[in-house]
Symmetry: D3
Subunit: 266 residues, 6 copies
Amino acid sequence: MSSFGTVLLTGAAGKIGLRLREFLRPLIRLRSTDILALDPPRDGEETVRCDLSDPLAARSVVAGVDAIVHMAGIPREAPIEQIASANLIATYNVFAAAHAAGVKRVVFGSTNHVVGFYPVEQSVDASALPRPDTLYGASKVFGEAVARLFWDKHGIESVCIRIGSALDKPTNVRQLSTWVSYRDLGELVWRSLVAPRVGATIAYGVSAGSRCWWNNSAAGHLGFIPKDNADRFAAEMTEALASEEARGPAVVFQGGPWAADGYDAA
Amino acid sequence: MSSFGTVLLTGAAGKIGLRLREFLRPLIRLRSTDILALDPPRDGEETVRCDLSDPLAARSVVAGVDAIVHMAGIPREAPIEQIASANLIATYNVFAAAHAAGVKRVVFGSTNHVVGFYPVEQSVDASALPRPDTLYGASKVFGEAVARLFWDKHGIESVCIRIGSALDKPTNVRQLSTWVSYRDLGELVWRSLVAPRVGATIAYGVSAGSRCWWNNSAAGHLGFIPKDNADRFAAEMTEALASEEARGPAVVFQGGPWAADGYDAA
Amino acid sequence: MSSFGTVLLTGAAGKIGLRLREFLRPLIRLRSTDILALDPPRDGEETVRCDLSDPLAARSVVAGVDAIVHMAGIPREAPIEQIASANLIATYNVFAAAHAAGVKRVVFGSTNHVVGFYPVEQSVDASALPRPDTLYGASKVFGEAVARLFWDKHGIESVCIRIGSALDKPTNVRQLSTWVSYRDLGELVWRSLVAPRVGATIAYGVSAGSRCWWNNSAAGHLGFIPKDNADRFAAEMTEALASEEARGPAVVFQGGPWAADGYDAA
Amino acid sequence: MSSFGTVLLTGAAGKIGLRLREFLRPLIRLRSTDILALDPPRDGEETVRCDLSDPLAARSVVAGVDAIVHMAGIPREAPIEQIASANLIATYNVFAAAHAAGVKRVVFGSTNHVVGFYPVEQSVDASALPRPDTLYGASKVFGEAVARLFWDKHGIESVCIRIGSALDKPTNVRQLSTWVSYRDLGELVWRSLVAPRVGATIAYGVSAGSRCWWNNSAAGHLGFIPKDNADRFAAEMTEALASEEARGPAVVFQGGPWAADGYDAA
Amino acid sequence: MSSFGTVLLTGAAGKIGLRLREFLRPLIRLRSTDILALDPPRDGEETVRCDLSDPLAARSVVAGVDAIVHMAGIPREAPIEQIASANLIATYNVFAAAHAAGVKRVVFGSTNHVVGFYPVEQSVDASALPRPDTLYGASKVFGEAVARLFWDKHGIESVCIRIGSALDKPTNVRQLSTWVSYRDLGELVWRSLVAPRVGATIAYGVSAGSRCWWNNSAAGHLGFIPKDNADRFAAEMTEALASEEARGPAVVFQGGPWAADGYDAA
Amino acid sequence: MSSFGTVLLTGAAGKIGLRLREFLRPLIRLRSTDILALDPPRDGEETVRCDLSDPLAARSVVAGVDAIVHMAGIPREAPIEQIASANLIATYNVFAAAHAAGVKRVVFGSTNHVVGFYPVEQSVDASALPRPDTLYGASKVFGEAVARLFWDKHGIESVCIRIGSALDKPTNVRQLSTWVSYRDLGELVWRSLVAPRVGATIAYGVSAGSRCWWNNSAAGHLGFIPKDNADRFAAEMTEALASEEARGPAVVFQGGPWAADGYDAA
């Protein structure tokens, strides 16, 4: 248990949030929050239920923390009203509350889907212009823009982590390129919290692997080195020669099936 | 009066919209819309009052047009709830409605404030990463991301015009760099409508002038050449040697006073 | 009539060659050659009929000149055997003959079709990787590579002119972007001959115009300034709103109809 | 033995082709072809003798395969007539035949000599403009341009492998930078065949090593990781302080002795 | 006569300094200094003789001014001891004195010879790494580094003007690319003094002209537009075809004869 | 002991010089020099005391060597007169003496403080413009410019090593990013001496480590691979959440405390 402060974790009841709770709890005092009910707090943790789309609630839950790991939000395509509330407004509220409370650093759960329309044969780094593959991806472009705004205007540091496919292991060919293990993601979040200086950093949340599309050189100062490697799962995937069948957006673009036309919000 | 189609102009009761109505009316059949009351339609024009944050209203007003000039939205800093409704949701609705209706091109009124945190001594072009100076600016980053998404995913072409200072004439030193005359802006909108191919173009909406910070080379295919030049108003501005007083964000950043800390939404 | 040397002009009976003969004859002693019959020589000119795909013939016609303007070659799509002979082998022979004869500079008639598969909304300069739209275009990529080879290996300077649409005037919308007048092309060839130092330069042969796609900044040292401007013919072209019909390769790519699938060699 | 298709290997009697036959035979059904006599086919292989400079022969040998590994061609400097037939015309014929037969992917044996005139102290990647060191190198520039053309125009994917020094082991100082082992080259060819999507990829065919000049980041999506490393042969090479004697093109340029003036075709 | 402050002009007895005195005197109160004797002061001017290599003298002459135009220094190749005193130490002293006195902006007379070893066929802008052609040029690289240091560390703004060939008119072919008229140079100095914000700007001091090698886009915020154009003197220069004689460094490099080996300090 | 030549090591009595003597003595005949008294020579070494700010002394000590490792100079901030003598003049003298004596390669001890004002979250390579954090750093910018000059003008190859924190081990958080072990530095110097071709190379002298800010890809041809890694000392450093206290230049800039205002020369 660290003695040096409290970190707010939002989205703590989500798939990734649950794993981050486990990872971060031994390292730091944690305030875990979600719009959904949360498991009971464990040692060194407090839990708060909160709707971040309400600015007052956001201010209240942020009060007294030293840093924020903002993972809350809808993690898939959804209608604009839902995205607006959970991703657009809530994210702005978190940064505004951080500013009001004097919090100096935010780690933001962005997504690889902000660059989902780059073709898989193109290496992409942090300087690539956004090419989101969904409204969901566009909402994270907005979140990254807000992060940059609060750095430029108010000096709040941030690391926007463009999370790949957070899973126990890759389950298809695309994920050989995009997989991030939970412990690698946890380590990257941790390094984003303790690196001496991050400014407004954009990092890809991805484990190692020879097929990875993303170049993390702009995040080298974080000192993050993945421990896991997607390649050891490659043998499980059936390889096939290039074929007529494999021409759709799901193969062509980094966003995979999300880049397909039919993937729109219902 | 052109015979070849109808263009929807949103935000037609706004400061810029009013001028665009005048400019475009002789060139094309116009459907002008706004959330506010509109002046009566003139020759070759119809007017519709409409709240674009309602997706059904958006679909209705878009039906039957051949192209859209989307200028609606709050044109200044405002609280997140207002920005979300008028700029984020409404813009998404316009593109979604265009997709539903088979409209093939949208001209989007973006703003120079998407790059407002670049220092004035840096030349900026369309490949610069967004550095918005306000929540307003961040909302236009979202709009540009949505434009890109609908191009990549649905083949809807767009020109995002990062409008400078649209005024009758520049009124301070900063505007010698940012001024766009109404006729130049009208001409740029027109060229964005009729250029044979635009993909997802980002253009700066600015008249000529030796002090301009923005490089429009990525929009050369539009064939836009400004007719007005801010330099002829330079003599009216008082020049002064660099002085201690002139150090604030309003002088340092391209966004001018909008980049200052105190410029936040009330 | 200049007194300082002789220039070999190949392809002198072709459409462009004929115009260059007229342009250059008052400026320099000319040796004009073609595989076809040539008009009788005029003052300060000699004419030679020659098949440049024969290396000995190439050596013979090159002997004694001070510089070469190599415009010979098939100027359109054609079967590989014809392209190989007239464009690939002949161009190599010309450079090899220049090397053997100690000629120090070659102006090579390349084509905009070496970058014909760039989309029209992208500004292209001399650093863009080749994206030819035809076998013809690929043959000019080879010619440019040979030019670079003879510079790097043997110190023979060259200017590869990527000629746009050389015509009396633009006749369609695409040519508003690609047109080069004969006098501008002549001037560019002339400047390529007399500029003090050119190394291995790539230049676009295009007149002025607001719709031009090509950035000639890498050829600034030639001191070429177009006298003609395609814009004055814009009013003759019918403008139309973006429409479903206008989606084919001919509108999408800089190569125009040449980039269409059906444009293959018969 | 794979069950999913047939790959045509051209140049199968050449130095590299022989090794690729061995490498690929266990992995895929192989049709091996060469202009020279071939060893008898082995399990899962058929052999065809064929002159690819004849378009009909090319069409015939391509019929029925799923992918092509095109290694045929003269692998050294040669007179233009030979290069034209074996490298220029034959390569075009292979791509044209692939298009006619509906083959969707071609792996093309290009060479490091397409960038042989870059100095050894410059790191080169796939975006470097061609600077061939020989006519041979220029012929591969043409081949890469043809590969790009058939991708842009006809959707045929390709991987152009710029092969370094394919040898059992490095035998001089330059090869510490350029060596590729046969198993690494085989693996790279294999990955080029089975990667889900390659577009028009340019890859360097080189094993690992601290002295390597080439940056393969644009081919990361292939998932190729060299198993061999040139460094373990470094101790065998005599190192010497910089000396007057070591100034020639063979030391200065990446192409080594091929970049020297005297290396021209006889 | 302006009423708003005093500008220190160093090197005021030099060739350029004399012209700047004339240009600036009507615009601003001037303190002119040189190590040599100066002409008597004119209206609105005071003159001080001063050796800037003495830090106390530098502090004394800087006291009380609002901005500095630092043109002092040896303007040609010279032995290291002289360069060290007049260019290296003196320039450091001027910036240190500015810091001590609270002066907020310095215009520094740099030279095109900081990039003199770029070949003439390469367009060079402010982002090019230094390639000086002389010790003199290297001393100006140091001066520019000092300017950047005092901006980054102490907030002193600066414009480093890489002066071309300041002459009444161009007198040879090279100067068609490098000429700057005195009135254009004066205007550029003036704009450097009064532009609202300059940070640490690098600008090329050159008049207009089609043969210019330098791209001033990084200095666009100064609002400098040359009034003079070197092209109108082009007809006076004898043009010649490329010839064996014209191969030396004086033609090959932007620094002209200064880049030749024999141009070393005696 | 090598038999192939003599290397001059300057600054041989300094902290780094002493370690390089040890490292290089077994590899090469060494002439060690310093302005201070030196330890007695060991096998295969001669020692000379010499003030390199005296050009004749520099010529004398350089005579007869085959290469130079120039490490002499004041290694910290100091008044301009001292920096001018020991760093500016002495470095020029060393290169001028190398030219006079026909020495063909110089390894120059530069410093990471030439880029000390880049923020720690930015990856920096050899193409970054200088942003020195001290007069000391600016003096090394001059040294690198001189190295480039002697390469461009006189063909003297050089490797400028931007040395990080040369220590037995890292002792604070910043040094986790900047540490270079003595054996890694020795190896880099050695590789700089024996690499077949270096032109004018800029290399970062830094050991491996996940927190390293510097990208050495432009020095790949040296074949340098660090053996030591700063990460194994990371556990010794206390990590802390981002806090108000950690905002100063020492954390913000790569130069660390040297970038702070108060770090000026006394």
